[in-house]
Amino acid sequence: MEKRSLVSINDLSREKILSLLECARKFEEKPNRDILSEMVVGSLFFEPSTRTRLSFETAAMRLGARVIGFSDAATSSATKGETLKDTIMMVSSYADVIVMRHRLEGAARYASEVSPVPVINAGDGANQHPSQTMLDLYSIQKTQGTLENLHIHLVGDLKYGRTVHSLLHAMRHFNPTFHFIAPEELHMPEEYRIFCRQNNIPFTETTEFNEDVISNADIIYMTRVQRERFSDLMEYEKVKNCYRLTNSMLQGSKENLRILHPLPRVTEIAHDVDNNPKAYYFQQAQNGLYVREALICDVLGINI
C-alpha cells in the first residue's frame, strides 16, 4: 500500500483538493460507514486541542475504527524525555494511521518521514493545520456551489493567523479576489502579498471594517484578534472592537454571503449574528467531521 501522509496543504494539487472535497461530500450524505473496522487510529495530541481531537476521533469512530492515544503530552512518554521519533515508532507498531498534534513546527513532516504508517498533521505549532483548511474549503464550496471566482474577505489577525495563510495558499487554484481587513499591527505579512502577486491573485487592503467594505463579499472569514499579540495594550484596546462583526453590518450584504470563523470566537462576532442565516461557523465546524473522514480514508489509500 502506498504510504501517503498529509502534512501541509501546500502539498496538495487542485485535483487532489477537489477529489478530497468530493469524498467529504459522500461522507456528509452517509457519515457512518463500517470501512475501518479492522483498523486502529493512533491519536497523538502532544498539546491539547479538544476541538480538533474530538473531530478526528469521532471521524475515526464513525468509520468503524478504534482509537488509541493521548490528549496531552503530560500523559505521554515525551515528559520522560523520549524523542518524537521513538514515540512515533512505538505507536506505529500498534496503529494503522497516526493523527498528530504537536507544539513544534515541522514535527508532522518529520513524523511522516520516520513513520512506517501514514501521518495526518492535526496542527504543528504555528506552521500547518491542513484539516482546518480543508474544512474551510469544503464550507466555501458547499455554501457557494463553487470555489471559483469568489470575493473572500479576511478579517482580524492576518499577521499570525495560520488559518488565513493556509487558506490563501489553497485558494490560489481557484481564481479568488482577496480583501485583507486588519489593523496596522496585524496586517498581512509581505511574503503573502508577494505570493498573491506571483500567482496573479488580486487583493485589496484596508484597516476599515464596516458595511461598505464587506458589501461585495461572498465569504467573510473572521479571526480572533489576540491580546497577547500586542506589545502595546493601549493599541489592543483601540482595535479590538473595530474588528467586530455585528448583525446590523450585514444589512447590505450579498444574499450568498456566508460568515466563517475557525473558532473559538470571543468578541469578534457579536452573538446577534448567530441567528442570521449568513452565519455559518457552527456548520463549518461540523463539516470538519466529514472532511476528516475523507482525509483518514485518503491516507490509507481507501477510495470511497
Binding site: S8, N10, T83, L84, K85, H102, R103, L104, E105, G106, A107, R109, Y110, D124, G125, A126, N127, Q128, E191
Partner: protein
C-alpha cells in the same frame, strides 16, 4: 633565501585543489566548512593576501585532495564567488565556481527555536527557493531565511 623557499613551497602543488578569492574575513569559516582541521594532507592557508578584486583575500591549498560537489557547494553559503583550481601535475586542469546547491543537508541550523530540528536529534534540511535573492526554506518548519542571516551547524 628562506623567503624564496617558502614561496616555492606554497606555489608548488603537484596535485590537489587551490581555493582562491575567499574574502579574508570568511577564510576560517571556509576552512571549517571543508573540515580542513581534520585532514592529514599538506595544507597551506594564506590569510590577508593582497587582492585586486577583494582588497584582502584568503587562499587555501590542499595537496592530493579533490572535493566532491557536495563539499564544494557548502562554501557558497559563506563565500559565493570563490573559485577552485584543480591541479594535476603542476597544471590547472579545471576551474570550478561554487554553486549554491538546491538542497542543504545538515549544514544550516534553523533559526526558529520552535522548529522540530532544534528539539529533536535529527539532521536539518533546507531547500533553496530563490537562487537570485539567496533565500532558503526549512524543509520542516517551512520558514524562509536569507543566506546572509543563517547560522551554520
Amino acid at each position: 633565501m628562506n623567503n624564496n623557499k617558502l614561496a616555492l613551497q606554497v606555489s608548488a602543488l603537484s596535485s590537489g585543489t587551490v581555493i582562491d578569492h575567499i574574502p579574508a574575513e570568511k577564510l576560517f569559516e571556509v576552512v571549517n566548512l571543508l573540515n580542513i582541521p581534520e585532514m592529514n594532507t599538506n595544507v597551506t592557508i594564506g590569510y590577508n593576501l593582497d587582492s585586486k578584486k577583494l582588497g584582502k583575500k584568503g587562499l587555501i591549498k590542499v595537496a592530493d585532495k579533490f572535493f566532491t560537489d557536495d563539499e564544494v557547494n557548502r562554501i557558497s553559503l559563506v563565500a559565493p564567488n570563490v573559485v577552485l583550481n584543480i591541479i594535476n601535475n603542476y597544471q590547472v586542469v579545471e576551474k570550478r565556481e561554487v554553486k549554491m546547491p538546491d538542497e542543504l543537508h545538515n549544514i544550516v541550523k534553523c533559526s526558529n527555536p520552535n522548529c522540530i530540528t532544534n528539539n529533536e536529534p535529527m539532521p536539518t534540511l533546507f531547500h533553496l527557493v530563490d537562487r537570485e535573492k539567496r533565500v532558503l526554506k526549512c524543509h520542516y518548519c517551512e520558514k524562509e531565511k536569507n543566506v546572509k542571516d543563517i547560522e551554520l551547524l
